[in-house]
């Protein structure tokens, strides 16, 4: 049931924004990968050179934070997905659609 989300169907119609252009996307990817690599390298260097001060033995591992970030992100992605599958009900589960609409109160709300 993962195809609930509307894949916005506009790339064929030429309605492409600045950040969606292929060249821009490539630049963003390179920037992300490069900064990941730099900070991982800095972390390893700092640990070897001895000016990093870990709190525990666990984060004495030079790339501990990188691993933690990736692992938690993976667990969270999967967990969130499972939770969504298990606990999401149709939007009229508690309230009927009529309950969600606002009666015009004449206050001139936008």
């Amino acid at each position: 049931m993962s195809d609930n989300h509307h894949t916005p169907a506009s790339e064929e119609t030429g309605d492409t924004g600045f950040f969606e252009k292929p060249g821009m996307r490539k630049i963003l990817w390179v920037a992300l990968l490069a900064s990941c690599a730099i900070f991982a390298a800095l972390g390893i260097y700092g640990m070897v050179a001895g000016w990093m001060h870990p709190y525990f033995t666990l984060d004495g591992l030079p790339v501990f934070y990188a691993l933690a970030g990736a692992i938690v992100a993976a667990v969270l992605g999967a967990g969130g997905r499972l939770l969504s599958e298990a606990l999401t009900k149709p939007s009229d589960y508690y309230d009927s659609p009529a309950d969600e609409t606002r009666p015009d109160d004449g206050e001139g709300r936008p």
Partner: protein, 585 residues
């Protein structure tokens, strides 16, 4: 009489409440907004004139008595002043944000609500705290109702019950404290009495605070009510209630060990709910709840650094979370929906709002140069220094959660990507909204770049260096690799948005089986009652009939009780009374 009133009137929060009443009477949105802003500035000037005082030597003002109990309307020390200042900033931003869009109700109740929160943090004793605690609950429910839909009415009712319930727990705890000690002072308490037994009074107060602080299982009102409010209302709601509870916990239960566990669970559990929710303001609500976990952890650790961290994080959290709610409110105002499934690529129509959301994401995830980095580091460091490894891990996980919930869900999925139909909106956020968001973003940056400005306001003097190579590298590693993983998952089609619909939470327990059970009990009792009554009536029909005949206009009687029944019932009660008398003695 007069000294109690005079004491209360010295409290800037109380003055703001009075101003809220006056604002309700003014015509025109602009005039109300100007009056509200003037009142906020005026009341802040009053607070500023009181100055500040160190934690161990608070300045007490407005002392009075209420039937023999000592009340202290104002306690000025660094903890109360920093929260009061924060609430004034939030109230000011709210007033600007709602310049064109706040209804009369929201403008005035928003001011009263802010005033109640300010009064609460300045209150020097438990009774005064309770007064403002209750006023905050009652004024904020109108803001939930301001959403205008029937769903908002129902959510508001649920919100009202749980908020007043929190007040009742607090009141019961205070009454017990007074009955036991005769003291009303609001100072640090402990859940365990000196002989090791449970301190019931403190526990009741703790539960009262916990409801408003969104403790797990007591949190369900928060994601239920906040997304129902109007664009303006949700911003107001996000600032005060929960942070007032954080203040109360920091004042009442610093170093209470159980808070570390509660905070860790909060920080971790709610990021999963945030990842699964489909309404964007509900995502924000869960994310807010997870951030509250940071503060609760800090209070639980209880060291000077940790308390400072909790307070600083509360400060930053009000600003950036308010900013994110503002951005979502702007989206709601323009696009008319906040269902994640319908929104993407909004940056092209609303570039400035997108920028604000981006700054919000950078702040909450803790990217250096933004407020979140300096405030989060304090709590994480405190957890590290005091060797609370589980807490420390939970806080790291919560940071990654913020990357997903805010960075990916709120910023990337909503504003970036190909443009959806709902995202083809008429323009960027209205000007006052933009101004408020810009001011909030500026505060995030200023605190991030110049943290000593905030640290000079914190409760304790603690020399803490946030910008060390260690922090920079570890924090960036954490964020960048999390982003990398989410990006890779998107790239290879492993991640999809959560399903569209309502996400069930523990409130399901009372909204579905609870309601069915209650209806069943009511129906069952009514049925049993009728059977009993008709049984009795059949037996004494002749007797009752005599009275029935004298019975006046018929027809409209359907719901009233026949007099014969009442007479019979009285006889039964008397009989019981007599039997008990004779049997008992």
């Amino acid at each position: 009489m007069s000294d109690l009133l005079a004491g209360l009137i010295q409290n800037p929060g109380m003055l703001l409440i009075v101003a809220g009443v006056i604002v309700a009477l003014l015509p025109g949105r602009q005039l109300r907004a100007i009056a509200a802003l003037a009142a906020i500035i005026g009341c802040y000037a009053l607070l500023a004139s009181y100055g500040t005082a160190p934690m161990d030597a608070p300045v007490l003002m407005g002392e009075s008595t209420l039937f023999g109990l000592d009340l202290v309307s104002i306690r000025i020390d660094r903890l109360s002043v920093v929260f009061a200042t924060l609430f004034f900033i939030a109230a000011g931003l709210n007033a600007i944000y709602g310049w064109l869009h706040a209804s009369r109700m929201e403008a005035s109740m928003g001011l009263i609500y802010a005033g109640a929160a300010i009064g609460g943090v300045l209150a020097g004793d438990l009774l005064t705290l309770f007064i403002f605690w209750e006023l905050a609950a009652l004024s904020s429910v109108f803001i939930v109702w301001g959403g205008g839909t029937h769903a908002a009415f129902k959510a508001g009712m649920r919100y009202l019950v749980i908020q007043v319930g929190s007040g009742m727990a607090l009141m019961a705890g205070v009454a017990l404290t007074v009955a036991a000690t005769g003291e009303t002072a609001f100072t640090a308490m402990s859940l365990t009495a000196e002989d090791g037994s449970l301190n019931i009074a403190a526990l009741l107060i703790f539960i009262g605070f916990g409801v408003k602080a969104g403790f797990p299982l007591l949190h369900f009102w928060l994601p239920d009510a906040y997304p129902r409010a109007s664009a303006v209302g949700a911003v107001m709601l996000s600032a005060f209630t929960t942070k007032m509870a954080i203040y109360a916990l920091a004042r009442g239960f610093p170093g209470e060990d159980i808070l570390m566990l509660i905070g860790a669970v909060m920080a971790v559990a709610f990021i999963f709910f945030g990842a699964a929710a489909s309404d964007l303001r509900r995502v924000l609500a869960y994310s807010l709840n997870s951030q509250l976990g940071f503060m609760v952890c800090g209070i639980g650790i209880g060291s000077e650094l940790a308390i400072n961290g909790a307070v600083a994080h509360a400060f930053a959290s009000v600003i950036y979370k308010g900013m994110l709610f503002m951005a979502m409110g702007a989206v709601l105002t323009r696009a008319g929906t906040l269902r994640a499934a319908h929104l993407s690529g909004l940056y092209r129509a609303m570039p400035l709002t997108a920028l604000v959301a981006f700054i919000g994401a950078l702040t909450i995830t803790g990217v250096p140069l933004f407020a979140g980095f300096v405030t989060k580091s304090m709590t994480i460091s405190a957890a590290g220094y005091y060797e609370h490894m589980l807490v420390w891990l939970a806080l790291i996980a919560a940071t990654v959660g913020a990357v997903n919930n805010i960075g990916v869900r709120i910023f990337h999925d909503t504003f970036m990507g190909a443009r959806s139909d709902a995202a083809k909106v008429s323009g960027d956020a209205p000007l006052p909204m933009l101004i408020a968001m810009a001011l909030a973003a500026a505060i995030c940056l200023v605190v991030g770049i110049q943290p000593t400005l905030l640290w000079s306001m914190l409760p304790f003097d603690y020399d803490y260096a946030a910008y060390t190579m260690d922090h920079l590298i570890t924090q960036m590693q954490l964020i960048l690799f999390a982003v990398l993983l989410f990006a890779l998952a998107r790239r290879f089609g492993l991640a999809a948005r959560p399903r569209d619909g309502v996400l069930l939470d523990v409130d399901w327990l009372y909204r579905v089986p609870g309601r069915i059970a209650l209806a069943g009990v009511v129906r069952g009792t009514a049925a049993a009652w009728h059977r009993l009554w008709w049984g009795i009536q059949a037996g004494v029909a002749r007797l009752v009939k005599g009275l029935y005949d004298t019975h006046g206009p018929e027809g409209a009687l359907a719901r009233s009780w026949p007099v014969g029944f009442m007479a019979l019932f009285t006889a039964v009660v008397l009989g019981l009374m007599l039997i008990v008398t004779f049997v008992a003695y």
